[in-house]
């Protein structure tokens, strides 16, 4: 399905994840974050960039992987994206949410 965010039409899944990373822009990220009641700080942008790099390199994202990365500790990750940090950060970063096979 498609939706319009900050004046741009983008393709998203039913639960609002971008299906085409090339459509992602920082403006779209800001808008997606606003819908989740998150104000993006410099630290958020660093983490978003890091997540995008990992995913685009074909690596799987997990809380454990983030803990091992040394980029941020998990408490901070929760503080930045309260409730469901992986779910929220991937949505804002424009990458697929972590999934199982069904």
């Amino acid at each position: 399905m498609t939706t319009t965010i900050s004046g741009t039409e983008i393709n998203v899944t039913e639960d609002g994840y971008l299906t085409d990373f090339s459509q992602w822009t920082p403006e779209i990220a800001k808008e997606l974050a606003k819908n989740e009641e998150i104000e993006l700080t410099d630290r958020h942008w660093e983490i978003i960039k890091w997540i995008q790099d990992r995913v685009n390199a074909g690596e799987a994202l997990s809380i454990r992987g983030i803990k091992k990365s040394g980029v941020l500790d998990i408490k901070e990750f929760y503080a930045l994206f309260p409730g469901g940090p992986l779910k929220l950060s991937t949505k804002i970063a424009g990458v697929p949410k972590p999934k199982s096979c069904i």
Partner: protein, 410 residues
């Protein structure tokens, strides 16, 4: 003489030995397979052990029975792989290889979560991904009088990603049959955003949890098991009480991969997802749970991979380009309780959808839909595993690559 060495005599390694021995000249190629353990377990059976559906004897056999004649079966511990020197160090000898196949699988690593393998391990905190864990849980369930049961998944990727859900469904049936379902509260706890994370599965199977009165706790990233208060606690300090915790711990590749410096953070070997050649060494190939490819870690995947990998080993020996054809094909039965099951058939790109299998429009198996026939299929699979799959015999009408015929696509 040249040497082909297979590390691991589980599902994937055993299949490769059976595929390759008849295809490689005995005058030119020695084949060795190394595994320190004598017993070959039918791991899908571990799901049924805790509920007394299968007995111990139904899930294990002597591994040697499945290694073909003409293959050197070495029952020793693997210390380290030296890929630059084309050598493998075993406990008391060194093997040289021309081609190496890594099939060392994955295993649970409960020590990765604080308190998980603590004083209550196999007392009220259980895994069922090991023979010992499944048996300990069976003994517990035989006498358990009820309370809060958590079926918990630590993090992805895990072997057989549907197994925890199947466990929750079978637990519901088990307690109903025992006449004590009203004494048990079942919750499914996942780090993901739902029990079903793919669109079609969520739409068609969402009813299952509600129907079986299984509570759902999502986005739970476990930090520790609190053994004093019988709670699991996540990084956001969310806590869930339990009387009985059945957990799928972190899954990791074998320690030998870490010792050899050949793995990622979880000791899985970086592998080309379509050819199954390792990314770092052209004469090293990887199959089954040991790879980092984004396919499910499941026996059916190893089976489909083994057909492509066999072709690629022969092409590599002839100096020809490898087939980049493996598509992530998986085919899995999912028990839903009350003698019914689902069947899913999917690959890297195509999510599980409804349809008929293996004959388009006919079946007899139904995709992504509960049926008694699918349950028979799951039970029949144990025979197929021991008698066909391990021996490298193709399963009739089921091809290595996924087919879209018979599937309902948009």
């Amino acid at each position: 003489m040249k040497n082909l060495v297979i590390l691991g005599a589980g599902t994937a390694g055993t299949m490769m030995a059976n595929h390759l021995r008849p295809k490689l000249s005995k005058d030119l190629w020695n084949i060795s397979i190394v595994d320190q353990y004598k017993t070959h377990y039918y791991q899908p059976g571990f799901l049924f052990l805790p509920f007394d559906t299968y007995t111990e004897e139904q899930v294990k056999k002597v591994g040697k029975k499945f290694i073909p004649k003409g293959v050197n079966y070495i029952q020793k511990k693997i210390e380290q792989i030296f890929p630059k020197e084309n050598k493998v160090q075993l406990e008391d000898e060194t093997l040289s290889y021309d081609i190496l196949i890594i099939a060392t699988g994955s295993k649970i690593a409960p020590e990765e979560v604080e308190g998980m393998k603590g004083k209550n391990w196999h007392k009220n905190v259980f895994d069922f991904y090991t023979y010992e864990g499944a048996l300990a849980l069976r003994n517990k369930l035989r006498e358990w009088e009820g309370g809060k049961l958590l079926v918990h998944l630590t993090e992805m990727p895990i072997k057989c990603p549907v197994a925890p859900l199947e466990f929750a469904f079978l637990a519901d049936s088990f307690f109903i049959k025992k006449g004590m379902r009203d004494k048990v509260e079942i919750s499914y706890v996942t780090p993901l955003s739902g029990a079903f994370t793919k669109e079609k599965s969520a739409a068609t199977l969402g009813y299952l949890l509600e129907e079986k009165n299984i509570k759902l706790e999502t986005d739970f990233a476990i930090e520790r098991v609190d053994n004093e208060n019988n709670k699991i606690v996540d990084y956001g300090e969310r806590a869930i009480d339990f009387d009985l915790l059945v957990t799928i711990p972190t899954n990791m590749g074998d320690d030998v991969i870490a010792r050899s410096g050949m793995g990622d953070d979880l000791n899985f070997v970086p592998t080309h997802e379509n050819s199954l050649q390792s990314k770092d060494h052209e004469n090293v190939f990887v199959i089954g749970d040991a790879t980092n490819v984004p396919a499910s870690k499941a026996g059916s995947v190893a089976h489909f991979e083994s057909e492509t990998l066999t072709d690629n080993i022969l092409l590599y020996i002839d100096g020809k380009p490898l087939k980049e054809e493996f598509d992530g094909h998986a085919n899995c039965f999912i028990e839903t309780g009350k003698n019914k099951a689902l069947l899913i058939d999917f690959n890297y790109k195509q999510e599980p959808v409804e349809g008929t299998f293996p004959f388009p429009g006919i079946g007899p198996l139904k995709l992504l839909k509960e049926s008694v026939f699918n349950h028979w299929g799951k039970l029949a699979f144990r025979w197929i595993y021991w008698n066909m799959l391990l021996k490298g015999i193709s399963i009739p009408f089921v091809s290595r690559n996924m087919t879209t015929a018979g599937k309902k696509l948009d």
